[in-house]
């Protein structure tokens, strides 16, 4: 018996081999659709008998039909382009929409064209966000913990006028690359920003020209707030503390405004100590910043995480600015002579001999009773 390879009578045998067999490559370098080798699905369907043809073929037609209907009725359209405008990249993504107290990530398709970046909702033909490339002044890549538990990469755009847009895309680095390439093609320059400086919109809104944020973070602040009955009480409020190369400022979250602003040259001293903040908050660390105002010295108290680091950072920044912290001075309550506070408290006034009540008490206690 002789084997046959007649191309007509052995086509099925050929297909069995060529479609289902052969050397296998590892999947990450070969083309496939959603990880499924195509052969199994499409081509098999095409080659299957009538019965299978109906099953696949009809379904396919039905599917196309449904899709077409949906396309027409939902009016899913591409982003309308200006004449001559070229799309460079289209990618699924989202941006942080913020209006008043409402913030949410809004999803759509990012279009990077040769002139702008836009986030477009195909289904409703709505532009959710757009910015001309010319308006981008700075870029930053930040990582943030997403509620899903993953660390997510964001792209921040600092726009003309100080607005910050937070973007996230399927492939954020690729989105950034497309924007940068587009800007470079237009001869635009931009500044690489540290990511935390773009932490939120308020941070960049409060910045003056040439000012840069060195530290930023959540921080409670003891605020004097009017309470009913015309009395002002100090209460802890939540907000964000920023140390820039010029100022120390605290953003009051509840009212969305800058509630405290201390130029660095006015900062007299800073300490971190433990205090009782309330009945349940005993021996908590507090970061005190003593600063000078026209009306005399004031203390701004902050409470939050890693206060020692904050204090160190403040000192470092002040040292770098060339105005090292002066020793805090006060006047002797008895003679009015100016002297360093630490000295006054420890050994009293060396002009008139005044000593603080605490030192007196300590001395009394140290002296054996007569």
């Amino acid at each position: 018996m002789e084997p046959t390879r007649d191309s007509h009578t052995t086509l099925v045998d050929l297909l069995d081999r060529v479609l289902d067999k052969g050397l296998v490559l590892y999947a990450d370098i070969i083309v496939s659709v959603a990880g499924i080798p195509l052969i199994g699905v499409n081509l098999r369907a095409a080659l299957a008998g009538m019965e299978t043809m109906l099953r696949y073929g009809v379904m396919q037609e039905w599917d196309e039909h449904i899709r077409a209907w949906e396309r027409d009725n939902r009016g899913e359209r591409e982003l309308p382009l200006a004449s001559g405008e070229q799309v460079v990249l289209k990618m699924l993504g989202s941006y942080l929409y913020s209006q008043g107290i409402y913030t949410s990530w809004r999803q759509g398709y990012f279009y990077v064209t040769d002139r702008r970046i836009a986030l477009y909702l195909l289904t409703f033909g709505e532009v959710l966000f757009q910015a001309p490339l010319q308006s981008i002044k700075g870029l930053a890549t930040g990582r943030e913990n997403h509620f899903s538990g993953d660390e997510r990469e964001h792209l921040c755009l600092l726009l003309e006028g100080g607005d910050v847009a937070w973007l996230h895309a399927l492939d954020t680095p690729q989105l950034r690359e497309a924007i940068e390439r587009g800007m470079a093609a237009l001869g635009l320059t931009w500044k690489e920003m540290p990511a935390f400086a773009m932490h939120d919109e308020k941070a960049t809104k409060l910045l003056t020209d040439g000012e840069e944020i060195a530290c930023a973070g959540k921080m409670w602040h003891l605020m004097a707030l009017p309470s009913p009955g015309g009395v002002t009480t100090d209460t802890w409020q939540s907000g964000h503390l920023y140390i820039t190369n010029r100022r120390l400022c605290w953003w009051y979250d509840f009212e969305g405004r800058l509630a405290l602003e201390i130029p660095l040259e006015r900062v007299a001293a800073s300490t971190v100590e433990r205090r009782d903040l309330g009945p349940a908050l005993r021996r908590k660390r507090v970061f005190d910043v003593i600063y000078e105002t026209e009306a005399g010295k004031r203390v701004a108290s902050f409470s939050g995480d890693r206060l020692a680091e904050w204090e160190e950072a403040l000192n470092r920044i002040i040292a770098r600015q060339g105005t090292p912290l002066r020793e805090e001075t006060d006047t002797c309550p008895q003679c009015g002579e100016a002297a360093p506070v630490k000295e006054l408290l420890r050994s009293g006034c060396d002009k008139c001999g005044w000593v603080s009540p605490r030192v007196k008490q300590d001395m009394l206690r140290a002296t054996p009773a007569r």
Partner: protein, 274 residues
Amino acid sequence: MQHSDNIRVAPSEGEAATKAGARYLYCVADSDEKVRLGPIGIDGHEVYTVPYNDVCAVVHDCPAEPYQSADAEVVKGWVIAHQRVVDEAWDKWGTVLPLGFDTIVRGQEGSDPQQNLENWLAADYQTLKRKMEAVRGKAEYGVQVFWEPQVIARSIAGMSREISSLEEEIKSKPRGLAYMYRQKLENALKREMEAKADQCFRDFYSRIKKHVCDLRVEKTKRPDDDRQMIMNLSCLVDGDKSTHLGEELESIDKMEGFSVRFTGPWPPYSFVSA
């Protein structure tokens, strides 16, 4: 795929990237030659080799997209073209490791498809060589054994005492009971047929095995006519042994109610995957 999450539509660069962004892979051949085989590929593409050490991949340039079509004729054309290229390489170099249809090596960020392909050849070189040695000088043959159920059933009925007595009984029974007996008869026949198929399989398998280096038991299929396929094998056979296999198959083919389909020689598609 209606929607792609990540569509690059850069007109100049993007198009060029998809145009020659991948390599369609036909086979890996036992040769270090870097040659062009001419426009013999799928859709008349220029086929050439990409050598690494003493082996080479036989490829053509293509977009990083799979070939797909709902038209059976188109697909058949592609598959035949695929086989033509593999055959050409097989004739030329003697030993090939064929790939299945639609194996396309793509480029990745930072590396072109050519690089990917060469990396793969380098990384899998030892395995490729081992597989090549396993199939050197050998060819694959398809062996399918069919029987005609009526003929077999008749011979079984003649031999099985249980069945012949049942057949006798049916004749003397009223209609209702006869129906039940017929069911019984059919079940008994089915059991006997299965046992017979099993026995034939084992018998043929051991007879065929003597003449082959390796074999794979494939799923049986349903032929268009009223025969039944009881055995479907892919056999790897040494070049000069195919006549022995042919003789053995001939003796099976001559048995009453049996027929054999003997196809090949094929490139060793079934013996390169593991």
